[in-house]
Structure formats: C-alpha cells, structure tokens
C-alpha cells in the first residue's frame, strides 16, 4: 500500500514494509528505513535510526491528515495522502472545488469587522475580515481575485481555530 507525504514543495512516496510494536520498516522515495519507533503517548515519538535518537512531537493540523511535526531541529507541516484523500482530491477537482478558495481563521479569536458582502468582487490583497485575538488585530486578505460566494461568520462572533470564514469563487 502506497502513501504520499508532502512537506513544503516536496512530495515523497511512502511505502509501509512492516510494522511491529517496536520496529517500523518503511521506504521513503525508495530509501528503506528500519527504525526503532516507539510512542510515549499523546503524539510523541522516540525514533532511533542507526544510533541517532530523534524525539518528535506530532500534532494534528487543520485536517486529520495534516500534521505539525516538531523535532529538535525544526517544525514542519506534513500531509499524508492516502487512498481516501486521493479520491477526495479527484472528486473535488472534478467538481471544480478548490481549497485555496476558502479563507480559514487559523486561530481562535473574535471577528472585529467584515469588509465584504456576498457577491462582491475582491482584488488580490484586499482585506476581507479583521479578527482580534490577544489584543492584536489581524487582517485576512484575498489571495487572488474573486467573487465572495459565502460569508460564514458574523461581526462580534467568537471563532475557533480552523473555522471557515469566507468562500471565494
């Protein structure tokens, strides 16, 4: 069974070769790793690979197949692509649906101002929503030209992290 993993620009092919409680054998773009991989619980992994010890914390990102991976070295966003997500992507593509058209609120906060209404045409870089959190206001801008299809929040509303705010078309 093949998977893909995406970090930034790179998409790697992941093949699971075997898995026991301790040893994980997997190939990444053809390179075979045989790792002593155990979890201490709650998304924390201790991996020993050829003597090197990695202490890695994996937290779920905005979807259940997106992960934020913290190692000693740095932080990465990793997306795992499986059969289901390939299928979903194909479906969305067929429907002309593009995730890039949705403006999510990345953190919890309060909607201070909505500067557009449904049907408005916005230009790239135009501010659409202002969200306040922790005494700071953040502006959310259109990443490309488009028409406002849906506004899913209201002014003064408290939103949670990952909540959909605006859909462009």
């Amino acid at each position: 069974m093949d998977f893909e993993a995406i970090i930034g620009e790179r998409t790697a092919k992941l093949t699971l070769l075997s898995r026991t409680d301790k040893i994980l054998k997997v190939s990444v773009d053809g390179i075979i790793y045989e790792l002593d991989c155990v979890t201490t619980g709650n998304g924390v992994y201790s991996i020993i690979s050829e003597g090197k010890s990695y202490d890695i914390d994996v937290v779920q990102g905005l979807s259940n197949k997106q992960f934020i991976v913290n190692s000693d070295m740095s932080e990465y966003k990793v997306e795992i692509v499986d059969a289901e997500s390939r299928y979903m992507k194909a479906m969305n593509k067929a429907k002309g649906f593009d995730e890039g058209n949705i403006i999510f609120c990345p953190m919890p906060g309060k909607i201070v101002k909505i500067l557009v209404k449904v049907g408005d045409t916005v230009e790239k870089g135009q501010t659409m929503v202002i969200v306040s959190a922790m005494k700071m206001e953040s502006e959310f801008k259109a990443s490309k030209e488009g028409v406002i299809k849906e506004i899913a929040v209201a002014e003064e509303e408290t939103v949670s992290g990952g909540q959909k705010m605006i859909v462009l078309e």
Binding site: M1, F3, A5, I7, A12, L14, L16, L17, S18, R19, L24, V26, V28, D29, I31, Y33, L35, C37, T39, N42, G43, V44, Y45, I47, S49, Y54, I56, D57, V58, V59, N64, K65, F67, I68, V69, N70, S71, D72, M73, S74, E75, Y76, V78, I80, D82, A83, E84, P106, M107, P108, G109, K110, S132, A133, M134, K135, M136, S138, T158, G161
Partner: protein, 502 residues
C-alpha cells in the same frame, strides 16, 4: 503586618507574586474573569473570586469589583502586578481612601511619572539627563522651531499622555515639521483625549537600558543595577539581559546614581524602573519611569540575589530596606526570553488555544515563570505572553549557550510559540557579540526568520513520524479485526480502502 494579599492580576505574574506570598506565610486572594475560571492563579491561590466577563474592561480593570473582593475577603493589601491597574494612580488613591495597602508607590508618584511632560520637567529639576528638547508643552509652531534650532534635526514629536507609539512623529527636516506637529496633536487628542505634545531630539540607534530601583518609605533608595532591553519588536521587549554588554562599572555607577535621584525626585517608594536611552557614545537620557514591577525583573533577581516581590511587600509593610547600596553585588549573567503564543512564520499572528503538551526545561541555572498547564486554554482576551524563560550563567557566553539548550528543551504544543524565533536570536552573530541596539530585530529579521537547515534525511524522519501518528490514529478509530489485519500485515490492499475512512 500584611496577612492577606489580593493579587489584582492574572497569568504568570499573579502566580509569581503569590509564590513569594506563600514563602512569607501571607494568604493569597485571586480574582478571575469568565475565561480564567480554570487559570493557574485561581488554582494556586488560597481564595478566589469571580469579578466579571472575559474582556479586561469588565473584569481586571474594574476597580470597584476588585475593591469589593478585597473587603469581602478581608485582604489588607493589593498587589497589582504589571499592566491592568498597576500604573493607575486613581486606583492607588482608591486603595488609600479605603484603607487597603496598595503594594506600589504613592498616587502622587504614579501621576507625576505617568504624564511625560511633568516627568521630564521633574527630571530636569533633579539633574537627571533627559533627551534634549522642550521643557514644556508645545503651544505654538514658532516655539517648536526655536527649540529645534538649538537641538537640530532629526527630532521626535511625542504626546505627553502617550504610549504604544501613538501620537508620535519622527521629523527629519524642517519642511515636515508643521504637518508632523498637527498630525501628532490630532492623534494624541483622539487617542488620549489630550493634545499636549513635546519635542525631543531623535536618538538614532539607541540602546534601551533600565535600572531597577527599590525605595522604602523613609527615603532610603538603592538601585539593583541595569537591564539591557534593546531586543524589541514593535516597542515590545523580547529578550532582556543583565549585565548589559555595553555597560562599564563607571557608567553603571553614574546611571545608577541618576536612577536613584530620579526616584527620590518623586518621593518614590516600592520597586520601580528608570528607563534610559543610551547612544553609541554612552550618552544616556531619561526616557520614562515604570512605577511598578517589570516583566523582566527575574534577571535582576538572579544576578543580585534579591527577591524583588518580597522587598515590595516589606516596603509596603513600612519596613526599612533590607540592603544598602554597597551590599548589592552582581554575580554572573542572566538572560530572559519572553515566550509569546504567536506564529513568527506568519507575521507573528497571535495563537491562543488549548495547550496540549508542555515539557519545561529543567536543570542548572534555569527558571521558568509561566502559568500554563496541559489542557488549559490560553484565552483570546489577554496578552500573548505565556511564559518567561530565565537562565543564569557564570559568563554571558555560558548564559547564551544555556538559553539555547533550554529553548531546545522547551516543548509547547497546541499553540504556536515564539520559541524557534528566540533560538535564532541566540544564534544571531549581532546578539552573540553583544553588538545590538533597538534596531536589532529589524536589522536581522531575515536571519531570525530563516529556518535551520533540514536536509532530505531529516525531512524523511519528519514524514515517517507523521506517518506513524497517522497509523496510530487509524488504529484507534478502527480497532476491529479487519483493521488489525491491516495494521499487522499491511498487505491486504483490498481491505485497506474500507478501513481508511477517518
């Protein structure tokens, strides 16, 4: 003697104040807003009272409610921490009127230092150097021009009631002057309800260096040496250290004496901080006085060995200062990093949320002042500073290496934090060499935002870890025989598809 203290604050500083209270055998009273019911300061205190809704204007800034709790709980003193009501002279006055000890200076000292023009005048009279400029409010544009003739361009126009960069204008040449004054006055009017402005010479690449002072009610005033606070982003301090890399024993002595004179000029008692601007030639100028405990007080505590909160309480109790100036000796070097819940990679966007996991750095020379615990939701209503990491080393070099080690050890997940950004500051040559001023972050931003290199191998490991978590989640969702087959053998492709719907 004070037996019970109400701490009119939240977060790390409320907990920090209560810690000293507990060590002194003083009972503690917490107040809390809706969002803070489960906050650490509520859990840590002996008593806790709800005072209102989550926005601070409805809770932590409500003098009436706080006073009511003080009376109800029988507290004999209030510690305001920093922020909120800590520099509100009216609140200090209210405490005095109600017979509750305010752990801080007199209302007079707060008011005098709170108005920048009055503070400036008071300092000039006390012989403390101030930035060259006007002594009084600017009433005419002609007067402004006369002043500038003496001090020369560039200059800063500043609002007397100002703060946070509002009502401020940098003027580089004469042609910009008139519109700058008008703009500053109108902004000051709308921001603070007071259009008084004054003019100061612009110090182009200053160091921000401050002196901690302690004064009792009998006029004994000492300083606890300096803190270097030039690592700032948008006028917010990010990293502080003591001693300052540019300080000399002679300059410390001179600035320290001026800091003491500044405090004495307003008959100050309690703990306070005199902030100075210092230029490259080590000329220094009074900037302002913070008439309260500072966020960065722990680095001073570490290097001079004094519990500043304990001293505040002693002073409020009407005791003499514990120390003379001669007894204050610095030992080693201390650095503080402020951990913010923010995303440096995304324009420092704030990142409130639920703390999923914390690993605090431990061991030699480490102090953490925080208020987080696993499962706590950092509220959206308050300051993004969630923790302070303070290290000590025998030398500046050791302190920097220790700070790197402890930042590496410090794991917070669930919210984004500035930890990686702080690590880059420790690695930045300008910081390491001690050659920096208030423009440090601006100047080094590319370096500070760049990631440490991760080669293909390290990406592979990150992918594998994410994959392991992905599999473990699948297993939790589908712990059926069907899935066990999948998990243990990973070969029956036909069955996998059915098992994959998460």
């Amino acid at each position: 003697m004070i037996k019970k203290i109400l701490v009119a604050n939240r977060g790390e500083i409320a907990v920090r104040v209560m810690r000293s209270c507990k060590e002194l055998g003083i009972k503690t009273v917490a107040v809390f807003s809706d969002a803070d019911r489960k906050a650490k300061h509520v859990r840590y205190a002996d008593e806790a009272y709800h005072i209102g809704a989550s926005p601070s204007s409805e809770s932590y800034l409500r003098m009436d409610k706080i006073m009511e709790v003080a009376k109800r709980s029988g507290a004999d003193a209030i510690h305001p921490g920093y922020g909120f009501l800590s520099e509100n002279g009216d609140f200090a006055q209210l405490c005095e009127d109600e017979g509750i000890i305010f752990i801080g200076p007199s209302p007079y000292a707060i008011h005098t230092m709170g108005d920048k023009i009055t503070a400036r005048q008071t300092m000039i009279e006390a012989g403390v150097p101030v930035v060259p400029g006007t002594k009084e409010k600017i009433t005419s544009e002609k007067k402004a021009l006369e002043v500038i003739q003496n001090i020369g361009f560039p200059v800063m126009i500043k609002a007397s009631a100002g703060g946070g960069g509002k009502g401020m204008r940098l003027v580089k040449e004469e042609s910009e002057l008139i519109s700058a004054i008008r703009g500053a006055r109108s902004e000051a009017k709308s921001s603070f309800g007071d259009d008084a402005v004054y003019i100061e010479k612009y110090i182009s690449s200053p160091h921000h260096i401050e002196f901690q002072i302690l004064a009792d009610k009998f006029g004994h005033t000492i300083h606890l040496c300096e803190r270097e606070c030039s690592v700032q982003r948008r006028h917010q301090k990010v990293v502080e250290e003591t001693p300052s890399p540019i300080m000399t024993a002679e300059l410390r002595d001179k600035m320290g004496r001026d800091a003491v004179a500044a405090a004495k000029a307003v008959e100050y008692y309690g703990a306070g901080t005199i902030e100075f601007l210092v230029d490259d030639n080590l000329n220094y100028y009074f900037l302002e006085m913070n008439t309260r405990l500072q966020v960065e007080h722990p680095i001073t505590e570490r290097v001079v060995g004094v519990d500043i909160v304990r001293e505040q309480i002693n002073i409020a109790n009407g005791l003499n200062l514990t120390y003379t100036q001669e007894q204050i000796k610095q030992r080693g070097h201390s650095i503080e990093c402020r951990i913010y819940a923010e995303d440096p990679e995304n324009n420092f966007m704030p990142s409130p949320g639920i703390i999923r996991e914390i690993v605090e750095p431990l061991g030699l020379g480490v102090r953490t002042d925080g208020y987080m615990y696993e499962g706590f939701e950092i509220p959206i209503f308050y300051d993004p500073m969630i923790s302070k990491l303070i290290v000590w080393g025998e030398s500046r070099d050791e302190a920097i290496h220790r700070m790197k080690r402890t930042l590496d050890e410090y794991k917070i997940s669930g919210v984004k934090t500035s930890i990686s950004f702080l690590k880059r500051i420790m690695e930045c040559p300008d910081f390491y060499e001690g050659k920096y001023n208030t423009h440090f972050i601006e100047k080094n931003l590319d370096f500070l935002l760049s990631k440490t290199n991760c080669d293909k191998h390290c990406e592979d490991i990150a992918m594998i870890a994410a994959f392991a978590e992905y599999m473990s989640k699948l297993k939790k969702i589908q712990p059926t025989t069907q899935f066990e087959v999948y998990y243990n053998k990973w070969k029956d492709v036909g069955r996998i598809k059915a098992a994959m719907r998460i």
